[in-house]
Symmetry: C2
Subunit: 379 residues, 2 copies
């Protein structure tokens, strides 16, 4: 039972991409890594067995806001934490609930103390403080837990973002204190990652990176990106943040993004990613493949009996055909949602695995530049 360790393995000679291994009490994670999002303790439409055998996930996310509302803390605590509740044996990361409170919940009010909000399920009122969010994440029992932050809306002006960032920093101090004065509940070590904010303003981002780095946490996250800013701006800020965060700790870019976003950000030195895109877009008939993007709803796939994607070896995505998946989604069959979700997730995991392999063999940048073009192709 030990604090999370990050072993940096290989750094690319032509970029800032790197490989590493994160060790937690629930096992190892090979970086760069993509983490499927398991909102309420389930990656939508995918079973825990399929996550292991077909997706080959090494770590999944849980959303604190959702889990707090359902099944609730009593069930999670009585179960002995989320791993025992849902049967997932590998590492889990929980977010802080901040993002959902701001984007999903009803009328919310931000004060120094914390945020009051209304449940999107029954309209009930709740208060999240930095301290309480630490207590909640202690009960959920993620291996990695996140500091409570405010994620300002995309396009916010300098004054708003600066004020918000300073609040996030004061909340970080309170998270840090609470985390360090409370204990792991279930016999394995939890690790708190702070989150960099600062919008699209480089001086604020630099200040936030420095503040966050001063905590010497086991890992650091970049929040507040992919919230509506243009792609080049997202890349510029991500790159800038990577340059101002410790090299010897894992860097986690929150909520990003498309397959090409992930490759570009790996080249800047990001190690961990999560995003609902593979599952959400999959359920809406959009498939990411080794040859490009497929809208499987399109009539052109009606009689295409070739596998969904043959480019990832002899796994799940070479079993079902495009025509069959299209038929299932057209017929609103639940299996269609499952197949599309598993394929997209397996593809994301394949992609970060390939990135790792190319960093190791020293041709990452040329491979990445080629792949980015291929992946964006509309098939």
């Amino acid at each position: 039972m030990a604090v999370l360790e990050f072993q940096l393995e290989r750094t690319d000679k032509d970029s800032k991409a790197r490989t590493g291994t994160i060790t937690t009490d629930h096992g190892e994670i090979q970086t760069p890594i993509f983490m499927p999002v398991g909102t309420v303790g389930s990656v939508k439409a995918v079973s825990q067995q399929q996550l292991v055998s077909d997706v080959k996930a090494q770590i999944i996310l849980g959303n604190t806001y959702h889990l707090y509302l359902r099944p609730g803390l009593e069930a999670l605590e009585k179960a002995g934490g989320l791993h025992r509740f849902n049967g997932w044996q590998k590492p889990i990361l929980t977010d802080s609930g901040g993002y959902q409170v701001f984007s999903l919940a009803g009328t919310r009010k931000i004060k120094e103390e914390g945020v009051t909000f209304q449940s999107h399920i029954d309209g009930s009122r709740h208060l999240f403080t930095p301290e309480y969010v630490m207590d909640i994440q202690r009960i959920i029992g993620g291996d990695i837990i996140m500091a409570f932050d405010e994620c300002p809306p995309g396009g916010s002006d300098y004054t708003y973002v600066k004020t918000s960032m300073e609040l996030t920093h004061r909340w970080l101090d309170r998270c840090w204190d609470r985390f360090n004065s409370t204990e792991d509940k279930y016999g394995y070590t939890q690790n708190l990652f702070p989150i960099v904010q600062g919008g699209t303003f480089k001086d604020l981002r630099k200040a936030s990176c420095e503040y966050v780095s001063s905590k010497n946490a086991a890992g650091n996250a970049i929040g507040g990106l992919s919230v509506g800013e243009p792609e080049p701006v997202m890349y510029e800020i991500c790159d800038w943040c990577c340059d101002h965060l410790p090299k010897d700790k894992p860097r986690y870019l929150m909520g990003v993004g498309t397959p090409w976003n992930i490759l570009e950000c790996i080249s800047m030195g990001v190690d961990m990613f999560d995003c609902v895109m593979p599952t959400r877009n999959g359920r809406n008939a959009m498939l990411f493949t080794t040859k490009g993007v497929i809208n499987i709803d399109n009539k052109k796939w009606e009689f295409d009996f070739s596998p969904i994607d043959e480019g990832m070896g002899n796994g799940f995505s070479s079993f079902y055909s495009k025509a069959y998946l299209r038929h299932l989604l057209k017929s609103k069959e639940l299996l269609g949602l499952t197949i599309a979700s598993i394929h997209n997730l397996a593809f994301y995991l394949w992609l970060v695995g390939e990135a790792r392999r190319h960093i190791e063999q020293g041709d990452f940048v040329s491979w990445k530049n080629e792949m980015v073009e291929v992946l964006k192709t509309k098939l």
Copy 2:
């Protein structure tokens, strides 16, 4: 490539229950057997891999009416039949579409020639004749295909049922002729099963059994039961039909039923069953278990972290807890529908497997009588 064979293995000394092996070109089926219903080429919410590894299905059903409308004959024929289309390698049985035409479709009209009906999807008009239904099932490519019959509504009077049965017999002749004058399309043998009708009238059922038996088909089906008649009547008619159908051919009771229905009908000599109950009721939070029936929606399971069912060995149903499944269904998570469906189907397959084992070891009736009471228990 050979016609379906049925090897009768063991007949119970205290009842008419028996074990056997059906051999098709897609493999063997150990009887008594339950066949999961794969409506439009997918058992709802369950993948083909899960059907093999978790449910342990040996044969699945496809619905001719649904497959004819979606994906349609062109796709199925171009794919090379349903096995190739959906990736299911074991035997498939297709129904004749009759039942769905009468229960699902819009305005329909029964004539000597066949039935005109409207698609429940787009209202388009179609005509199913006995000959066309043979052609359709040739294209779908089931290992076992069913004769086109009229299934009279529960409670129909003697005159209606007699007229309807006579029509079904004339249609059977036309099915038989068309089937025998057409060829297997995909290199394996298809087998036509006729269907006994006659409602709840013993003289009609006897006449229908005799007519059906005269075809000397590879197997025979009992239709028109579990359509609203009281359970004792269903048992009486099923028993009566079994007595008037050949012993050396598999007997298939269509669309029945609860776990206790299945055990009782096995004791009368039924070999094959299908029903949407395990999947449909599962999606509505009703679980069949080795200890009785569970309404998993019930608050009493909120903190029950014991496995869904430990009585079936160390398989799928011992992995997820009752509390977790309840949480998923409450939260309308797709995985909840999948887990409930897989569990119920695995339970049905476990149940017919246990029946087989007890017939072999000679204590079927005492085991059956005990189990029927246990299975009905509301937990």
